[in-house]
């Protein structure tokens, strides 16, 4: 167990910079999640830490020691692969023992550590099975036990849950988190699933186009997204295009006048609003932004309702209502009151992050 530092880590293939100048510090025992859409460079970053990809420039330090030029088999990183990558010709116990054999661990000690690792993932009764005789979830746990058995400095998880079905995924991620906490393992998980990221992470790194967009804890990312991309990727937002007209005033391209609390320079801007921060009906009148609009679409999500409300020719806002007994589902085409506090709006200069993820 050790800390991890990435210093200006960069990987280019020709002119294509897949990872650009990534620097971050992961404290000992911290659970860090690299989050981003596919092709954002998160997996390449992880593979550089594991040693499978050679960085074009920059350094990787584990526990303060520079390991940038070490081959993968000399780094003490335990990795869980997306497809588990179990050795098909070895039994579960042999799979878990492999790393210990490579470390020339004495055989009595080996047997004990294999047993401990399998007990940790509750698979000690299946030690004699072959990977092909197991379910996806069990294979995943074998992969985890195999990575844990070597007592790695850093645990690397490459989308470890993406091949599991939704129900199992929720269980396993809680398990992984508990295990990580119990063992105090410095862990890096790569995922594109923000819900997964938010459940397990101490801190998150949002990446896009090879760059780090924002590093922070969950609240930072959700409440204060650094740019439009983060605002759309973490949670959901309705985006309204327009420009800053003056002190605390935003005008949308279709002419809506909206109060805003945060100041950015005059000029084109995007206003982002979280669906759950909007209010509908009479309670909307208490907000300092309140407007009327037509219900365009309603989607019933079980615990919540999403109401799409059109406010202008180019402006549409989604309101999320929690599905309580008192909630009356609005009808399509109905004219409704909608409102949000000016402090709930997030403002971004329009030239920033425009090419990124689609908004709502």
């Amino acid at each position: 167990m050790a800390s991890l530092d990435l210093q200006s880590l960069t990987k280019s293939y020709g002119d294509n910079r897949v990872v650009a100048d990534v620097s971050l510090h992961v404290a000992q025992g911290e659970f860090l999640v690299l989050l981003g859409p596919s092709g954002c460079g998160k997996t390449t970053t992880l593979r550089m830490i594991a040693g499978f990809v050679e960085p074009s420039s920059g350094n990787i330090l584990i526990g303060g020691k520079d390991i940038t030029t070490l081959p993968p088999w000399r780094r003490n990183c335990g990795m869980v692969f997306q497809n588990y990558a179990l050795f098909p010709h070895l039994t579960v116990a042999e799979n878990v023992a492999f790393g210990l054999q490579m470390r020339k661990v004495e055989s009595i000690e080996q047997r004990k550590r294999v047993k401990d690792a399998l007990t940790m993932v509750r698979l000690e009764h299946l030690a004699g099975r072959y990977p092909r005789e197991m379910s996806g979830g069990q294979q995943q746990r074998v992969a985890l036990a195999r990575a844990l058995a070597i007592e790695p400095d850093i645990l690397l998880l490459d989308e470890p849950l993406s091949n599991l079905d939704a129900k199992l995924r929720e269980e396993v991620r809680v398990e992984i988190r508990e295990l990580q906490r119990k063992l105090g393992l410095t862990t890096i998980l790569v995922t594109h699933d923000q819900e997964e990221a938010l459940t397990v992470a101490d801190r998150l790194v949002v990446m896009n186009g090879g760059h780090v967009c924002q590093i922070g804890d969950k609240r930072d990312l959700y409440e204060r997204p650094a740019d439009r991309f983060v605002a759309s990727f973490i949670g959901r937002s309705s985006f309204i295009e327009g420009h800053i007209k003056g002190q605390g005033l935003f005008e949308s391209t279709d002419g809506l006048q909206l109060k805003v609390s945060r100041e950015i320079n005059l000029g084109p801007a995007t206003l982002a609003i979280r669906p759950e921060r909007c209010r509908l009906g009479t309670s909307a009148q208490t907000c300092d932004n309140h407007l009327t609009g037509q219900v365009e679409f309603v989607s019933y999500l079980g615990s919540a309702l999403d109401i799409h409300v059109r406010l202008g020719t180019q402006t549409k806002v989604i309101v999320q209502l929690s599905n309580q007994e008192s909630v009356k589902e609005p009808q399509l085409g109905e004219t409704v009151q909608i409102g949000w506090a000016s402090t709930a709006g997030l403002l971004y200069p329009s030239d920033q992050g425009r090419e990124s993820y689609g908004g709502l």
Partner: protein, 275 residues
Amino acid sequence: MAYSRMPREGLIGRILLNGAAALAMVYILLPLFFVFWLSVFNQEIPSFPPDGYSLRWFSALAEYREFASGFILSLQVGVIATFVGLVLGLPAALVIVRSQINGRGFFNSLLLAPMVVPGVVLGTALYVFQIEAEIATDLPLMGSFLGLVIAHSLIVVPWTVRLICANLVGIDRTIEEAAYNLGAGPITTFFKITLPMIRPGLVAATLFGFVASFGNLEMSLFLVGPGRTTLPIAILQYLEWKIDPTVAAASVLQIALIALALLITDHYVKLSRVV
């Protein structure tokens, strides 16, 4: 609704499929059946119906020394050529499937060429080459055991390269990465992880390589020397003078041997996974 229609359509389909399969089976097995039958005919000139049945051709087989020595030579050449084919084929397959070097496609076609070139052409070419080489170097190549082994290795290589390649393509590289990650260097990873994973391909390569060598007639015809004939050539030579069921008996033994090899192999690696 779909379900209620299923059984009848399924039934017709099944009858057609099974019928076609049965027809193919008969077509393939019928000649084998006749060979078996013929080998136990009593009379010297095969005619129908047989006079009676006897196993005397099998004992004649043992007495006819050319068959025994041909069998041993074929076995020796086959085993050595298969080994050479594996030793050459495995690294070649690794380069073809894994490396990024230019001309891999050309290299691949080149190694498969002996399978495409007709045996007679190959035999003639090697014959001329061995004569020229013998003249140039004074080494007794022509008609030698070494010359035969080299030639047979040539026809084994396409099989080993092709079958190992096919297996290697399907191997998930991340499994090797997992081995690196756990502390195994490239050499350890190759022997402990990669090699066991391509075992089905290696077994298939060995089997088909050996059968290709063991049964080869056309190419070998050009390369054998006096007193040194392989089994297929011994059979051919025998047929020039006699048509008694000894040849059928020899074939039966050959078929039994290959069938045995297949069964033993199947016990260790399921052939249905290999081919």
